[in-house]
């Protein structure tokens, strides 16, 4: 379990273990993970990569998530506006279809409370 050790020898089960984090970036990103390792290593169906809604939404603002994908097909009305063709979209401040600018800051940042009441 301890980081960086080459071989494991048998040991008593530790009651506490300290994991020192030097940087906030080392914090785990999802609830199924604790600093220094996975807490619930055995879940039904095996260990899976789980993200909750809030974490996924937070990732949206990362610069890595904002560049247009390469080879995005041009489907008018779907990946580009009905008329204009999107080509040299290097600067994303004004991409023509970019729902980044429409939705997330307003209705997403408020988190769970922003969920609508639905009557169907």
């Amino acid at each position: 379990m301890s980081m960086g050790s080459q071989k494991t020898t048998s040991q008593a089960i530790p009651t506490t273990r300290r994991v020192i984090l030097n940087d906030a970036a080392h914090l785990p990103h999802d609830y199924s993970t604790t600093p220094g390792g996975t807490l619930f290593s055995t879940t039904p169906g095996g260990t899976r990569i789980i993200y909750d809604r809030k974490f996924l939404l937070d990732c949206r603002s990362s610069p890595l998530a904002r560049t247009p994908p390469c080879c995005l097909p041009d489907i008018p009305g779907v990946t580009s506006p009905p008329s204009v063709t999107v080509n040299n979209e290097k600067a994303y401040p004004k991409p023509t279809v970019n729902n980044n600018s429409i939705s997330p800051p307003v209705d997403k940042s408020t988190g769970e409370d922003a969920q609508f009441e639905m009557d169907i």
């Binding site: 990569i49 993200y51 904002r66 560049t67 994908p69 080879c71 970019n98 429409i102 609508f116 009557d119």
Partner: protein, 236 residues
């Protein structure tokens, strides 16, 4: 000529509900060839980039739109559906999603499909043929938000049903929108119940929301019956 059937067809979500009117548009055939090309080429394996958050599975976005005046057949369904792209990480997902229109703003009779890479959003795919889907009908105005919540739950592995999930569809129709989630084994009741409960939770559905489970076998049967009715040759 077959307006009376349109209501029937529109009552289904996101799959073979083709327009079965006049099969007389030979001039579209060329486009079909190109579309097919676009669907089969560019199959490079996507991997998460440095510093990105990997997903449990790779997924592919698809888009389809019913073109009026198409012959109804599996082939035309397959040719009508376009791959938008595949992704392997959370960040790559957002790159696509942020450059696509939201389903509530789509016009006409269109669908977005988000399926695990390698699974076609078709009943006939090996992963789907014994499967089924949960269907939720939404009044207009809710589709964008529900779709986002649905796919975020799927990508984040919130359903906890192992390998069972195949993909999700949002279908924009005339008076309502439909979202659905497809799984592999229709007969696995523990799985379908868990998917239903997760849907309730992640979509914030009120307890009285009607959710319908439909096996693909039933969908195929209904489709064949319907086309037998209007078109003796069956169309497929």
């Amino acid at each position: 000529m077959n307006n009376k059937f349109d209501a029937l067809k529109d009552d289904d979500s996101g799959d073979h509900d083709q327009d079965n009117s006049s099969p007389k548009d030979g001039e579209k055939e060329k486009n079909d060839e190109e579309d097919k090309e676009a669907n089969t080429t560019k199959r490079k394996a996507v991997v998460p980039g440095a510093g990105e958050h990997p997903l449990q599975y790779n997924y592919t976005f698809w888009y389809s739109r019913r073109t009026p005046g198409r012959p109804a057949s599996t082939q035309s369904y397959e040719q009508n559906i376009k791959q938008i792209g595949s992704f392997a990480s959370v960040e790559q997902f957002w790159r696509f999603y942020s450059h696509m229109i939201r389903p509530g703003d789509l016009t006409g009779h269109s669908d977005f499909h988000l399926f695990k890479e390698g699974i076609k959003p078709m009943w006939e795919d090996d992963a789907n043929k014994s499967g089924g889907k949960w269907i939720i009908r939404l009044r207009k105005g809710l589709a964008s938000r529900c779709w986002e919540n649905l796919i975020l739950a799927m990508l984040g592995e919130q359903f906890m049903v192992g390998e069972e999930i195949c993909g999700a569809v949002v279908s924009v129709r005339f008076q309502e929108d439909i979202i659905s989630i497809w799984n592999k084994t229709a007969s696995d009741q523990a799985t379908t119940a868990r998917i239903r409960d997760t849907l309730r939770r992640v979509l914030n559905l009120p307890p009285n929301t009607i959710m319908e489970y439909k096996t693909h076998t039933d969908s195929i049967k209904a489709w064949e019956d319907f086309h037998g009715l209007v078109n003796a040759s069956g169309g497929r």
